[in-house]
């Protein structure tokens, strides 16, 4: 604030000169450290405060994100136009290939239906979808997305976040009109997965890079590049069988998985409620059931 000095050459405007200013500075610096320590020891208290602040900021961020999305869409369009010829050729080939797959899928579908009848199989269906727009991202050390949907839209903690390509994360914090999705690439993300072909189980651990690591895998399981990795459904946090990615490197530095959803900043994210509370049980959740289904 405009704390103006009276004389032309007074020193009052010079900061950190007086003992009181220094004391205040130390107090503030100490508060910052205290916040860090508290956040580590009592994350729940901070979570609520954080989502309240985020709720207030959500409309502003939403408004700011829109022109950026529009600009991105324009760039994509120009890009698509430039690549039309190649895309066309590629798509024709793909259609041919997929038509063959279609007939295979039809056969399997019939076979599946028959077997399901035999087993009296109960499908674990998605209870509802909520689609949210991305209005914020994390920082350099946080891989997260802020969405413009919250409890009033039916978002609950623990819901699974996907894009058209595959799993991207799950809802870690939820406010009344905003929510934060922790991406599978974040340091704190652990997803129980299974290698589709070998059924070997492991944990997909994010480490802030674009390609998360596979850890705690069975030692003798055979791992090859290009193997599909899907969620295993262990621990009840994720439903089984969601596509996650493919194994992209196997060496002494560890096994890495390239996620199908490579874009870390999608515009729209779909949250799926499988009714799984998993490890993220939240007392407040489920209060607002006014769902924005899709």
């Amino acid at each position: 604030m405009a704390k103006r000095a009276k004389g032309p050459e007074t020193r009052t405007a010079q900061p950190l000169r007086t003992a009181a200013q220094r004391l205040l500075f130390l107090l503030f610096l100490g508060s910052a450290v205290a916040l860090m320590v508290l956040g580590r020891t009592d994350p729940a208290a901070f979570e609520r405060a954080r989502m309240q602040v985020t709720d207030v900021a959500a409309p502003i961020l939403d408004a700011l994100a829109r022109p950026i999305d529009a600009a991105n869409a324009l760039v994509d369009r120009v890009d698509a136009f430039a690549n039309m010829y190649e895309d066309n050729t590629r798509l024709r080939q793909e259609v041919e290939r997929l038509q063959q797959w279609q007939s295979v899928a039809r056969n399997l579908e019939i076979e599946n239906a028959q077997m399901r009848d035999l087993l009296a199989f109960q499908r674990q269906d998605v209870k509802r979808y909520v689609t949210g727009r991305v209005i914020g991202t994390g920082g350099t050390f946080v891989r997260a997305l802020l969405l413009n949907v919250g409890t009033q839209d039916g978002v609950r903690k623990g819901q699974v976040a996907v894009t058209g390509d595959g799993l991207i994360g799950r809802v870690a914090e939820v406010g009344s009109r905003s929510s934060r999705v922790l991406l599978i690439t974040d340091l704190n993300s652990r997803v129980p997965v299974v290698i589709e072909s070998s059924r070997a189980r492991a944990i997909l651990a994010g480490d802030n890079t674009a390609i998360p690591r596979l850890i705690y895998g069975a030692a003798n399981s055979e791992l090859n590049l290009g193997q599909r990795v899907v969620t295993s459904g262990d621990a009840g946090a994720f439903p089984p069988g969601l596509p996650v990615g493919v194994i992209s490197s196997v060496d002494e530095n560890g096994i890495r998985v390239m996620p199908y959803a490579t874009s870390e900043r999608p515009e729209l994210v779909r949250l799926m409620d499988f009714g799984l509370d998993g490890i993220l049980v939240d007392g407040v959740a489920g209060a607002a059931q006014k769902s924005k289904t899709n």
Partner: protein, 174 residues
Amino acid sequence: MRTGLFNKMDHFARGLLPLLCTLCVVVISAVPTRLPMLPLIAPALSLIAVYYWTIYRPDLLNTFYILLLGALQDMLTGSPVGVTSFILLLTYLVVVSQRRFFHGKSFGVVWWGFMLVAFAAVVLTWIIHVILSGQFIDPRGATFGLMLTILLYPPLAALLSQAHKAVPARDSDA
């Protein structure tokens, strides 16, 4: 300096500009931008704003504001609350002690000073995050973020200097 009510209000509002600029920068840095090649990188825009105002008008962006702005940024981005406040306050401390050196110096010198400050800030942020998370973090993301932050200093500082012109002059130095 006249005493009319309007003048006073105008003066007061202009004095808030550094705070408002920094607030804008904090909010903008949380908005998702999709740079095609740089999906993992978030430049530390708030560092630029704090550096700039600490050199030219530390009286208008005081330490309490910095504490709050840092906490706000942490809350918006979902990082551990207090880390950015801590870094920005230390930046303030370092820059305020050296600010007389920067006065009247060319833009290149100020930018060079910013490089040193940004480097120290990013390294310290990285160390704090490694300690808080208890695991090693690939420093590449932070390195690219640092480079982007340094590159973004000139354009952002140019914008801030426009706002600076509207800020009422201080009676003493500056």
